[in-house]
Symmetry: C2
Amino acid sequence: MYTFDELKSIFTDYIKQNHFDKEPWGLYDPVNYLMSLHGKRIRPVACLMTANIFEDNVSKALPIAYSIEMFHNFTLMHDDIMDDADLRRSNETVHVKYNVNTAILSGDLMMIMSYKHLIDCCDDLVLKDKILKLFTNTAIEVCEGQQYDMDFETDDNVSISKYLLMIKLKTAVLVAATFKAGAIMGGASDEDTDNLYKYGLNLGLAFQIQDDILDTYGDQSTFGKKIGGDIIQNKKTYLYLKALEIANKDTANNLRSLYNNNSISDEDKIREVKDVFNRLNVKDHADSLVAELTENAMDHFSALSVPKVKLEEIKKLAEYLLKRSL
Amino acid sequence: MYTFDELKSIFTDYIKQNHFDKEPWGLYDPVNYLMSLHGKRIRPVACLMTANIFEDNVSKALPIAYSIEMFHNFTLMHDDIMDDADLRRSNETVHVKYNVNTAILSGDLMMIMSYKHLIDCCDDLVLKDKILKLFTNTAIEVCEGQQYDMDFETDDNVSISKYLLMIKLKTAVLVAATFKAGAIMGGASDEDTDNLYKYGLNLGLAFQIQDDILDTYGDQSTFGKKIGGDIIQNKKTYLYLKALEIANKDTANNLRSLYNNNSISDEDKIREVKDVFNRLNVKDHADSLVAELTENAMDHFSALSVPKVKLEEIKKLAEYLLKRSL
């Protein structure tokens, strides 16, 4: 069994081998740029790690892991335009470093390239067909999730269930598909493959809720982003929506007007919103949901028909993802 | 054999059957909008028509024709953002009617949907694999063509050969792939399939050069676009590049300064540029090239191993494409 670091190193080499060295430069250079920025590579490593549970040689899963990372980076390239974001992994986003048209077109190319790596992955047409169907359905869901996320910005009636649907589509299904694709390439049984999908889905949801918690209650040194960023950007997070759900009318109105208040300082806004969250114990609600989702994930994990020793690395990865210090 | 109009009607029904009636509305409505604008449907009909040469029942080729039309419309949705175009088929472009973010994301969805229709097209995995490889390589080339086209806007040294490469990638390869995909779905031999690809490639190139000619020398009532549009927009067309290639230094400088002159009226600019073109006989050069490309196309067409009577409809389509009145 390979460790996380070993798989990351194998994957980093594969990215280097697939560096584009061709014309037109203006199309391919932005792809090389974004793909070479140092990311955590969680998705491709999770894909390889899952394949490795069932198969010692992970090389067959490499094009799939690469395709998933390429797809993820394509969504980042386009999402960063939509969100008007300047920085990605502490570097300029593509539409800032180059321009918007470049980020649109090079993003389109990345989407097609992610298909190319699936289509060229192997000669086993049945296996390939499975992967292509999984990937395509997932990609459609990710677009739906991004649309819901944009819709929510101007929607004052986002329910918790709609929010959970959005994070499922925008984030969790790709995590789930990553585990499933690794399992398929490793030759897992349908039952194991299905359990790994559901494991990934619950883990992805738990990760996203945990991310909401950390954004408000985390430790800046380990979280990597500025604490309180969601509150400053008026993001309708799980904490905010849960607070609105359980607050009385006055508190709910107070919270809404705090979010819409542009004259208050960032620090005061974070403190006052957090104060409302604390009075309503929304962090406890969020923690419970993370625990429930993690338990669901573990149920599917425990149902896998493989020796426990083979699951150690994936377990460590999941723990790392969920426990990024509070 | 079906006629053009019969196939267009079959295809229009298929588009209606595939109308999206699902949430999120903001993602799917723009796709329905663009797909339902009345276009000529040349590509999907050409695909069905080619399949029909080899197979009476064209239903197997419908998802492929749909995928190609979806892909073409995806490129239009994104190109219209990049070109800052307000109108498409006499209607508002998607980024004007909705907004830029919508046009980016719904375009991404269309790209994925065009793959979905290929992946769900049939149970014959060998056939599907062929189509997927053809489609993916073509899609990559189309992105490269669009990049070259954008690069040319700021490149003062575009050669005729670079221009021909650009229109090959941006336009002709998709026409070629359309014929080839129809042939594959109709069960054509490899030789016929290959000849139809080359037929489409030459036809696509001839069409694009003819389009350049018509933009300056055409009849507004039949061309459908404002005559002289390329000159007003300083487009580096075949006529312009050929003129620069054969002009002496003074005439070339005169042409360049006419293109860069913002104080001249549109009418004067068109008249003066056209005057340079006429003195250099660039229309004759362009006409010769169209004739040469058409001849190349016809060589591949004549080599097809099918009864001539089966090729009548395709021949009419090609004649229509090339002869749009001067």
